[in-house]
Symmetry: C2
């Protein structure tokens, strides 16, 4: 009888995530019930949110230990007991970190066939849609405005900056290290880049945006959030997408200075979102995907992916992502 | 030759504001130039913002020492050298803390004559309009939602809570001391009141709003902001109106915890504003004043004013306001 390779969350981290939190296991092959599908994970998505789930209740329940680590995959249907899906269909599914999973089919939909299929996890997946809706619906960037994005070389940030360029903005990316910063400017076409590892992001931003920042797309929280907040222009918008600086440790003891004082005096809007909130309606998911495809086809968005081989490498892949070692969308091929 | 009694900002406070920062003086009677009016201050408005101006640049320049303390008044035109104003007209003017001022008339407008004239500084002045636009345009409260307001017994807060009741919300006020809390419920019709001096506002709010807070109208910042943030419901709105807890001291070393983490996971909108941003257009100032007048006439809003006599009492009036001793709109009759 075939077995199912799995990564188990052995213990919740206390401080920085390490490989100790995980163990490899062999579980039984799941069997789909009525209304379910058996899927095989092809690419598991790595996201900073995976780490946030270990801290407690977010938009999903906190994780349990001694269970398969939670995570989403681009998966292929192997056996279907649901009328709208058949073997060979590709779906996004909450498989967890394992090779096979039996999943309720009700909320799954067959994805379009396109090459490379990895794009279904990056630019045409939650990553691309998060960048698209967060920037355009909450940030509302206008031509000529200055847009700053943190974790700019990451999956979401690299797309945010390119969409802001398409919209006629001046774009400043915040990233770690001179190589990433050079890549943002030379390869992705950002106007400027700030290396947060070089220190004093607040002053670096002030020098690059003396008239203030109109839109700040925040993927990090913490000190970079504070540095951007102090550099906002009047009526600026801060898009709160994630707070990766705050996930891989105990919850921070303090928040950024200037809250709420600067929000008042600069008349800022600071708003969080979850991408699914924007999926419905005529300007929802389908329209967004069509626009993203057109931009990719026209060469206006360069898609950067970081694919690692082997289910057993999932823990290291997540630990490395939290340390900022990836460029673009990181995923593990199973 | 008549003289002009003035309160001078003798030195900027270092920590809590005290009477040491001010001195009484006699200046020359000003003489209006072409396009100016000479006005006599009748009621000087006291606002927490007066203290914020001493800290640095806000929406106006920082104050200078050895100059007349800045402040707004309900003032009467004594002599006009501008065609659209005549002696006897009432105006709002940036007179500063003095009996007489010569003011550029261009941005002044004659106010309607109504009794009591003090209402022009409270419910029909910046105070009432701040409550109205901040709550309705940014907070967007819906019937049945839970609205929390801090500094609830203050000038703005007492009106915010009453408008939220008109809109069919459940209203919780945060104020200091059992007397104020009882007054909010018994006199103004708030549903609940939280005494922040009794400690643990976060837990008190959780008990009173177990399903979460939909709209938080923040007049205080600091610990009360943090307590509300942790109790927000998904898709909640935080209206950032002022941060009185942070004005009367050095700028705080840290901001509230949960920023931006909770803003993301709860999909919150946190927005600051300045009331003048809403004055124009068909739903602007005139429409707001008409609605406020109708509510006052119908007895749906009770106007609370705290009038102190004597220009020389302005410093004590401001110091007391920062300590939270007032109920409703505080002003000094000159």
């Amino acid at each position: 009888m075939p077995t199912n390779r799995q990564i188990i969350l052995a213990q919740k981290p206390n401080g920085k995530l390490t490989a100790e939190s995980f163990r490899l296991a062999e579980g039984p092959m799941p069997s789909p019930g009525e209304g379910e599908v058996l899927v095989k994970a092809r690419y598991v998505s790595l996201d900073a949110a995976n780490r946030a789930w270990m801290q407690g209740v977010t938009y999903r329940s906190a994780l349990e230990t001694d269970a398969v680590m939670a995570g989403g995959s681009l998966a292929e249907v192997v056996e279907s007991r649901a009328p709208h899906l058949k073997a060979g269909d590709l779906v996004f599914a909450d498989t967890g970190w394992q090779a096979y999973a039996a999943i309720q089919a009700k909320h799954l939909e067959a994805l379009p066939k396109l090459e490379p299929v990895t794009h279904l996890l990056s630019i045409y997946g939650v990553t691309g849609l998060t960048a698209y809706f967060g920037l355009l619906r909450i940030g509302d960037p206008q031509p000529g405005e200055t847009v700053v994005v943190s974790a700019a070389a990451g999956a979401v940030g690299s797309i945010v900056g390119q969409i802001a360029k398409i919209k006629g903005c001046r774009v400043i990316g915040v990233a770690g290290g001179p190589q990433k910063c050079a890549w943002l400017k030379d390869h992705l076409g950002f106007d400027e880049a700030v290396d947060y590892k070089a220190g004093d992001v607040r002053r670096q931003l002030r020098a690059l945006a003396p008239d203030g920042v109109n839109v700040y797309f925040d993927n990090t929280g913490g000190d970079i959030f504070e540095a951007a907040l102090f550099n906002m222009a009047n009526h600026g918008r801060i898009v709160c997408c994630g707070a990766v600086s705050q996930y891989d440790d105990a919850p921070p003891a303090h928040g950024p200075r200037g809250v709420p004082g600067l929000i008042v005096t600069k008349r800022l809007k600071v708003q969080g979102f979850v991408v699914m909130d924007f999926y419905d309606g005529p300007n929802g998911k389908a329209a967004a995907l069509a626009e993203l495809q057109a931009w990719v086809a026209a060469g206006k968005i360069k898609v950067q992916e970081d694919v690692i081989d082997g289910l057993e490498n999932l823990p290291a892949a997540l630990i490395g992502l939290l340390a900022g070692e990836n460029r673009g969308k990181r995923m593990v091929r199973v």
